[in-house]
Amino acid sequence: MNIVGRRNLYFLLSLAIILPGMFSMAFLGFRLGIDFAGGDQYNLAFTRPIQATAVQKEMDTFNVEATVQQAGPNGALVTTKPLSSVQETTIRADLAKKFPLDPSRSSYAQVGPTIARELVVGAGGLILIASILIVIYLSIRFNYKFAIAAILALLHDVFVLTGIWSILGKVFNSPLGEINTLFVTAALTVIGFSVHDTIVIFDRIRENLRQASRLTFEQNVNLSIIQSLARSLNTSMTVIFVLVALFLISPQNIKGFTLALLIGIVSGTYSSIFNASPLLVVWRRLDPR
């Protein structure tokens, strides 16, 4: 099996997934959750099935830029612009009067505009700080080329995930594709996992390079990938099993979170096998020192 030899094919496959996402991000942007956009969100649970359109009609009378989405037969997700305390109480009382609301299974969240701005800055900063620290650690343990290849694979995963999220939220208009705090958590976990996966293969390359052999650098890298393939796939499989279980039975409010983890882990496994290590070979060819 020659993975490194077919590297251009694998790079192309990655681009085929990343480019549409990039376009979507550039031209359509993201579907921001209230954590980032500010606003109020009612996660309503009813005692019997209610159509989201009926709730939408009712919400439209308040003129608060409300969007209502069906969340299961007995639920609806209502998002509005930031409400004043009085508005919030009025709307809540009205909804309770017009619909068979079950308050003990409902939830509500409000995020003011100042907090929302802070989170946007914070999320970007977190990814940057984590990346820098990981580069430093890998430069010490391996060398800077390995570190940068690992970070490129990591960025690949971040772009795959955010691109798919942009498409999901904007093109398909799905509430799953909402950018919120949980999504940022998922993205950061994916970063950790992606580097984790890449390092295991790099460790093999490091070990094989130490042993004197007649193999070229390229052959060596390919051998290392093959040798660690079983482990890479097995570990990802076990994590994916757990995540699929989580995704299928998770309640509406963390479905997006588990889906993001699932996509990220698949992408992370792909990038560490097909992108990170072949990148080392590309670099070696351009700069043979």
């Binding site: 299974r105 977190l126 097995n234 998770s250």
Partner: protein, 468 residues
């Protein structure tokens, strides 16, 4: 490497301790004669007298799992001093308000320079707003001959201000800011609820002088009376029988137990040192949280079962070892959450469940190496040693990079993210112990057992005699 009996004993002790802590709620129920199912009374507390050790042991559930309201308050328009001072004063006042409302599990803490986090388990947003938002302004007035002017009729309820024709209320200078404490009390004579208020020294001086002056008027004359207004309304209009200089007074105004309690809270709130607004609020219904926990635990159990099945089918005997190590791992992680009071949130639970998947990774790394060494024709014992030895750098470097991410998440992330970071970090840490120490020791035991030496048990064909 041989079996290290001391290390094995350590693993056994840790596992037993972890199981003890995990099951402590049941031990607590037994010792306090409670049924084993249904809601538990009291907080399970482990007391070891001679060590002076006392620790509450239970799963600290976040608001999203137990239901309640989380508020982030912001202070603006501070009247005096720095924002930070105002924030600390406000924290103290809000804490007092919340505590006097009887919400013992509530959390009030400063956040950043101008924020306050308030967490109220089991309280909905409207109740929370009432507890936090409503301050009552108490003023004490006297009656003097005359008719109330327009300004007074504006400030006070007109019906109350014109209670006695020919008399008008005059402010004594005593207001709520001079109250140091207010509490619900009971009138020993009538057994009716009332409210006891204590004054600071300035309030006491004024109140003492005021009552001394009022006593000089005959009883029945409005000038003998003391009028307490809360906001605009007259709540008490009492005769002053003697001077009151003891630093406290009692308001009896036909209260119910609840309204006396509410007034005490409102008086306690005093005046906040600035304008407090809600920057963000989250409210979770009570049963929503409970059903989330149930679903997550189901997902966790399901995930664990699949992982164990996979390990058994793919790695055979070592898979069994890894599964046992995984169960010990889950028991230890849960015990750590309970013992150190790590607050489990939805994201935290997800982090924990995810770490189950990652925990097997170290085992997978070791077993893949083990297979390779066995295929290369090494003896079982040597292969096990080499497998662990060679897998170690990869395990170390990969887990440290995950820990770096956890570290960044914990120190720079929002509270929701923090919970996730802690559980994931605990998971990664314990899983390294589980893989390196537990699995390795168990493998060494296997290597010493004759029936466990058949290579087929490790999913490896015996090596063919070398051809070349």
């Amino acid at each position: 490497m041989r079996v290290d009996r001391r290390l094995l004993a350590l693993i056994a002790v840790i596992a037993v301790l972890a199981l003890f802590i995990d099951g402590f709620a049941y031990i607590y129920r037994l010792t306090t004669n409670q049924p084993l199912t249904g809601p538990i009374r009291g907080v399970p507390t482990l007391n070891i007298g001679f060590l002076g050790f006392s620790q509450q042991i239970f799963v600290h559930k976040g608001l999203d799992l137990q239901g309640g309201t989380h508020l982030e308050l912001q202070i603006t328009q501070v009247r005096s001093g720095t924002v930070q001072q105002a924030r600390d004063v406000a924290v103290a006042i809000i804490e007092r308000r919340v505590n006097s409302s009887g919400y013992a599990e509530a959390v009030v803490r400063p956040e950043g320079s101008d924020r306050i986090i308030v967490e109220l388990p089991g309280v909905d947003l409207e109740q929370a707003k009432q507890i936090l938002g409503k301050t009552s302004y108490l003023t004490i007035w006297k009656w003097e001959p005359g008719t109330p002017d327009a300004a007074i009729l504006q400030e006070l309820n007109p019906t109350d201000a014109q209670k006695y024709p020919g008399y008008k209320p005059v402010f004594t200078g005593i207001d709520g800011s001079m109250i140091t404490n207010a509490s619900r009390s009971t009138d020993p004579n009538t057994n009716l609820p009332d409210v006891t208020i204590s004054f600071n020294s300035k309030g006491n001086d004024l109140f003492c002088a005021f009552t001394r002056d009022r006593v000089t008027h005959p009883q029945g004359d409005p000038q003998n009376k003391l009028a307490i207004f809360i906001d605009k309304n007259l709540v008490e209009d009492a005769n002053v029988i003697s001077e009151i200089c003891g630093g406290s007074a009692i308001i009896t105004g036909g209260f119910t137990a609840a309204s006396a309690q509410a007034l005490a809270i409102q008086l306690n709130s005093g005046s906040l040192p600035g304008t407090i607004s809600i920057a963000s609020a989250t409210e979770v219904g009570a049963t929503l949280g409970a059903s989330t926990v149930k679903l997550s635990l189901l997902a966790g159990a399901f995930g664990l079962a699949i992982v164990i099945l996979f390990m058994l089918l793919y790695y055979r005997l070592p898979g069994l070892v890894a599964s046992i190590a995984l169960l010990i791992y889950a028991a230890i992680a849960l015990a750590i959450f309970k013992l150190f009071g790590v607050t489990l949130t939805l994201a935290g639970l997800a982090g924990f469940i995810l770490s189950i998947g990652m925990a097997v990774d170290a085992n997978v790394l070791i077993f893949e190496r083990l297979k390779e060494e066995l295929r290369a024709g090494r003896t079982l014992g040597a292969a096990m040693e080499a497998g662990v030895h060679r897998a170690w750098p990869a395990i170390r470097d990969s887990n440290i990079s995950t820990l770096i991410t956890c570290f960044v998440l914990y120190f720079f992330g929002a509270p929701l993210i923090k919970g996730f970071a802690i559980t994931l970090a605990v998971g990664v840490g314990v899983s390294m112990f589980s893989a390196i120490v537990t699995t390795q020791q168990f493998l060494q035991i296997l290597a010493g057992l004759r029936p466990a030496r058949r290579l087929a048990l490790y999913g490896v064909q015996p090596p063919a005699p070398k051809a070349a």
